[in-house]
Structure formats: C-alpha cells, structure tokens
C-alpha cells in the first residue's frame, strides 16, 4: 500500500540537510516499527521517496514523503507511533492513502508556498511598506532575469513562475514554481526585486518558511491550478 506522509520541520531542525532528513526518516520507520516495504537485493533499502528537497536554514509546515507499507494498519495509529519517536522540530501532520497507480510525489511537485519575514535586527524602517512594494513589483507582466544553473546561465521570465505574491502584515506569502520543471528558490524572487532597486540582499536578512508543496490539478485551468500534495491523489481516487 502506498501512503503519503506530510511533516513539518521547525526550530533547530532547519539546520538538518536533506540527506540527513532522509536518513532520519529511515530510522523513524524502524523505531516506530512501521511495516515499510524493502527493495530486493543483497542490501535491501526502504521504499521511500521525498517530494522536494528543502534548503538548510528554511523551516517548513508542509514536507512530503511517500512510502510503501505491507499492511492496512489504520493511518492514525501509524501517525501516532511515528510522532512518539520524533526528534524535536519534526512532526507528522498527516498520512494519506494513495492509489497503487499514484505517481511518486517527486514527479508531481509543481509549486510551493513560502512565507518570508525579516529576521529580527534586519528590518527596514517600514517592513509593511517594503512588502507592499515587493507585491507591486510582481504585478508586472514580465520580469526578465538571468538564473545561474549548473550548465551556466539562462534567461527566465520570473513573472510567469511566480504564481502568487501577497504582502501579509510584516511578511509576504508567495507561490512559486518548484520541482523538476522549473525550480525557483524564494531568494531568487527577492533578488530580482533588490536588483530592480539597484541594491543587494543581505545574506541573512530573511526568515523563510515553506508552507505547502503543491501538485498541478489535472486539467485544472483556474488562476491557481494547484492542490497540496496530500489532497492531489485523493482527487484522483
């Protein structure tokens, strides 16, 4: 049976890198005695895949991994057992069934929502006004930028990859393209704005939290055609 686990990563856990988070969850499965399936071969490994790696230093309320389990244990007891063995900062938010035909989470990722605020001590005089200005900047139809990639540089229209950007109180909430198609980091969205003002972003000026990871609704054509990964397959089934 395939299941999708949604978890949060808060506090000091933000300093734990993606590979270590993967190792961490492998051990969670053993401690919680989850009947996870193993691959064949001489050194079998757990069948587990993560949706979208999260950068070090970013907290999250919506991380995803898919696993395959042997039996049909009630999902709420599975969740309770996992949460009893979590380290500080990690918490399983939900576990959902997936149909056997479900695509792995990684291939479904299309966008993610982030919430950004100024780190205490780095605020400009008027943080609300600053966020409003950022929102207005993204009202433009087209924002041409050059993005550094492994192979060199490429030209992008950032406006088409930032699906939503709203100033909220002292922060800003944004939905941006994520995953294998076009992976945009929230810092890149900030940098384009700073560049337009002829300024440079201070490296530690923002606290960033990923709020949710989305997949595209099949055939959806609304202005924001996304659903959280946990709800996506439920739509299907």
């Amino acid at each position: 049976m395939k299941v999708r686990i949604k978890f949060s990563k808060q506090g000091a856990a933000k300093f734990i890198g993606h590979l270590d988070v993967m190792r961490y969850f492998q051990k969670v499965m053993r401690r919680a005695d989850i009947s996870i399936r193993y691959s064949g071969g001489f050194s079998p490994h757990q069948i587990m895949s993560f949706a979208a790696p999260l950068g070090v230093g970013i907290t999250s309320l919506g991380e995803y991994l898919d696993i395959e389990v042997e039996d049909t244990e009630p999902l709420h007891t599975m969740k309770e057992r996992m949460n009893r063995t979590m380290a500080e900062g990690f918490h399983v938010e939900s576990i959902t069934h997936l149909p056997d035909s479900a695509e792995p989470a990684m291939s479904l990722v299309a966008a993610a929502r982030y919430y950004l605020t100024f780190r205490p001590g780095y605020e400009p005089e008027d943080p609300k006004g600053w966020m409003k200005e950022l929102e207005e900047f993204y009202h433009q139809d087209s924002i041409r930028i050059t993005k550094k990639t492994k192979k060199g540089q490429k030209e992008l229209d950032l406006a088409s990859l930032v699906y939503e950007l709203t100033a909220q109180e002292e922060g800003v909430s944004m939905v941006i393209s994520t995953g294998s198609q076009e992976n945009i980091k929230p810092e890149l969205v900030l940098d384009a704005f700073y560049q337009s003002k002829g300024m440079e972003r201070e490296p530690f000026a923002f606290q960033i939290q990923r709020q949710e990871v989305y997949g595209r609704i099949p055939g959806g054509d609304s202005s924001l055609p996304f659903l959280p990964l946990k709800d996506l397959e439920a739509q299907d089934g």
Binding site: G11, D20, P44, V56, G57
Partner: protein, 622 residues
Amino acid sequence: MRKLALPDEILLSIQQPARYIGGEVNMCVKDPKDVAIRFAMCFPDVYDIGMSHLGIQILYDMFNRREDIYCERVYSPWTDLDQLMREKNLPLFALESQDPIRDFDFLGITLQYEMSYTNILQILDLSQIPLHAADRGEDVPIVIGGGPCAYNPEPLADFFDLFYIGEGETVYYELMDRYKENKRANGTRLQFLELAARIPGIYVPAFYDVTYHEDGTIQSFRPNRPCARERITKELVMELDQVNYIEKPLVPFIKVTQDRVVLEIMRGCIRGCRFCQAGNVYRPMRERGLDYLKEYAARLLTSTGHEEISLSSLSSSDYTQLEELITFLIETFKGKGVNISLPSLRIDAFSLDVMSKVQDVKKSSLTFAPEAGSQRLRNVINKGLTEEDILTGAASAFHGGWNRVKLYFMLGLPTETREDMEGIALLSEKVAETYYDEIPKEQRRGKVQVVASSSFFVPKPFTPFQWARMNTKEEFIEKANLVRQKFREMLNYKSLKYNWHEAELTVLEGVMARGDRRVGAVIEEAYRNGALFDSWSEYFQESIWMEAFKTCGVSMDFYTTRERSLEEIFPWDFIDAGVSKEFLKQEWQKALKGEVTPNCRTQCAGCGARKFKGGVCFEGKN
C-alpha cells in the same frame, strides 16, 4: 523550542551546523534548575568522531539515570567555528541546554588518544576556563579526565583537577555524592579535591610532588598531603552483567563514523600481545552473558532505529558464546533489514560461514593482523598468529569467493631486523600465491588484491615494551622504504599494495605516551602557536611542535629513543593497573629472547590481575 547558543548567521555559515544544535533522538532533557549537579561530558574531537564513542554514551546514560545530575555533551568545534568563536568571544556551550560550559559543576574530558591533547586546551580555552588547574577559582567547573590515556596522565597533570583511573561505572556516583556534600557544607574547591582524593581510582595531580635526577629521570614521586594515596588502583567492573548498558543511545542527525548499534560483548583480552596497552590495562578479561546481550541487542535496535549492529571487544573470537550470539543476531534481525557488521574475527570455517551470510563476499575483504613479518618477531611480540594460520585461512576464504585480503603490520618493533621487515612483503606475496595456487584459472574472478599496511610502533605504558627504545622519524621512513622496495621485487607485485602511516605524528605520539609533567609545557606552547586537531593529517603542523620543544627546552629523544633501565621510576608507576611491574619486566625479558607466553585460558601467567577476583582468572580452566 530550545534556544540555541549560536545565532543563525553563524550556524548558516559553517560546515555541518547540525554538529552544534543538539536535539538528537534520545537526547536527555532536564531542567537544569531541577538538578544539583551539571556535568559536561566532552570528547575532545569533532562531533562526528565523538558521537561514535561508546564510552561516552555509557557514561551519559549512567549519569542521567540520577535525577540530581544533568549530564550534557560537548565536542571540539571544527576549525571554522573555532575561529568565529574566538573572533566574537563566544563561550563554548553544551549541546543539550546550549548553556556555557563555564557554568557547569564538572567538565569531564575523555582521553582516547594522545594526539587530542591540544584539543583539550581548545575546549578549556573556548569555555573560558583557565588552562592550569592551579589558576582556577571557586566558580569554575572541576575538570576531570578519564579513559585509556589516563593510564599516563602526567603530560596533562597541569590542566586537570583530577583524573579517574579505570572504568567509569564504579565510583562516579560516589564522587558526585562527595561533591554535593561539600557544596552543601559550603566547602571550597580544595576541600572537594581532598575528599575526592580519598576515593579509590581518583588521582589529584596537585597532591603529588615529583623530583628528578640530574639525567632527567624521576627521583621521587610522592603525595604531598595525607588524603592522597601512595598508589592509585584502577577501577573496574567485575560483573559486567550487573551494570546497566546503554538503554537509548543518542542517534545523531548527521552521518558519524560509527552510525550503528554497538554491543560491547566483553572487556579485556586473554592474548597478551606485548605491544598492546588495552590488552594489559583492561585485564582480567570479563565477558557479558549471552542473555544480557540478546536483550540489549533488541532494545538498542528498537530505541535507535539503526540499520546496523556491530560487536565491540578486543578479540571477539575469544568470546565463549560467539557462535550462539552471532547466530541469534542473524536469525533475529537479518530479515528485518538490519545489517550485521562483524568485527575482525579469527578466520576459520565458522567465521567464513557467518561472514558469507552477512556480507557481500564480492565486495568485502578479509583482514589479518600478523603485526610482524616473521615468526621470530611475532614470538617477540607474543602475537599468536602463525603463517600457517594465515595461509590456511586465506585459502578457505579464496574458495569461499573472497579475493581481497588486508594485512596489518607494525614497523619499529623491538629487536626488528631486516629479515623481519622484508617478511612483510614475503608474507603478502605468499598470500597472493595461495590464491593462484588454490583457485584454478577458470574459477578466478580477476586478480587477488592483497593490501598490506604498516603503522609505526609506539611503546606504551603498562606494556612489556614500556622499556623499549622507539625509532626516530628517519628510521621509520627508512624502514618503510625498505619494505616498499622489497614489495617491488615480488613476482606478484601487481596483486600487492603497500601503505604506511605518517611517521611525524607517531614520534609525537611516542612523546605524549611516555611523557612526564614537563611535556605539559610543550603541549601548551604548541597549542598557543596554533596546533589543533593534530590527529587530522590536514591540520597537523610538525614545525609548530618542533619549535615548541625547542622553546620549552624539552628533548623529544629523552622520551622516545632513550634506552630505559629496568630500575627507572616511570611517570605512571604510581598507578596500579593490575598487571605488576614485575610481570611486565619478565615479559620484556622473555620478549628479548623470543619466548612466548600462553594466553590466559591456556595457562595463567601470573600478571597480577587475579587480585581483582573475577573474569577469566576464575573461569576454572587454569
């Protein structure tokens, strides 16, 4: 959420910030306000190394069982953070509460290897604790050392308030009780040390005076107050099944050196290799019971979620119920995706059979530790492994599908001749020949690979070789070159590979190992000039050390190459490690004659450890 000692700006600009945040699975959480004693337990090396250490996990578990003690951890900040902490004057902190170490009652530092000594000074310095015990005031933690290098604590005498000699499970609680009583009675630091000195196994260096002969050797070593004992007898646990092992080992987030459950099956060793300090100071050999180990194996795998379990001991093949234990581990855990990692076992039908069950034969290699290249020299060091053992073992392994062999040797052993050194290449060649003789061409999977490595021999206290002359750096390098040359002459040269360790580090290790109080000044001088992480070859700077010896007027040769007389008083003679000096002398003389001593189970050699009234001495086979 716990507060963190370091701001995000620092944590996000250094390597592996997870080394400094604590919060690992099974971390002990207490409110420091609820405890009487705060104990910071330190492994003076980077987190990745320190977290792999079994002893610290045992003590962490032991201390935290007591409600009135909160034991936390601290490791050496890596060089990147070290620099930032100095620039910003940030005090070193414990991982659990993230509070500064200087606010603790105790700082316990484990002494695992000599080349960590500058890191001890780093820990004190970054904690803002005066380096010298003599300069510490009432509100500074008591600095305590323990572990294998505490069997010669003298080079560190100035930096520690006290040392704990022997195994930690026995008198730490008593020491903590004395501390509480003294605190309640508003006693001073000195008064506490006087109370501590009365506890068996506790050594307070300030309570002893040393005088020297003109030639630099020790004239006298005496207590300078009534509370200090003439001799300190090591502490040890006689019934290992009656002490608790770890219930819930810490599970680090980052990948550390030892990322697995470690099951300690026994302590001590029956073999009596004359170069081996552990084999002598941990006598008598004591085993844990099979039921005890089975129970803990299951409990530890469950509480950690580790995917691998390994056994720890000095010589697992001598564990009486090894077959039952390994069979149990394979039957119980192999099907659950748990790897079973076997320690170096004596190669025989049984070990090859279990190894083929738990390892991928094609990917794994076979390890032998002949230590010396000739039978003559193996007799000198009392290593009971013959050429026949090795070649027969290798032949069965080759038939079992293995084609990679590792061989470990030492260079610079006492009485070593050119033939002994060349024997390293010759033995390696014979192992390769065995493969080509035993395995028909059509059944071979490529060439055999024989990798021989040699380290350089360091004479250690409490071994029969404590009187031995150590080689100079130049001699070591010359010897390694001679062996390398011999390898080139071998017919199967292309199947052989020869590696050797760095000589510079070994010589320094030799000074620390048999050093006295005068060496402390050199460590401090080297540290002040930038020596740190000396056991990491990329950070070791020989020139700093050479300069420090010169500045302090201390001769390295005095500690390394000097011939010692049988009458000499050694800096560590005040410790009673069980094995008597008389026995070690006898063994030294037998070594020089190439005579072997049978192992403890074959015949008691009268080493002195029998007085502890347990272990192998009373197995009733003598």
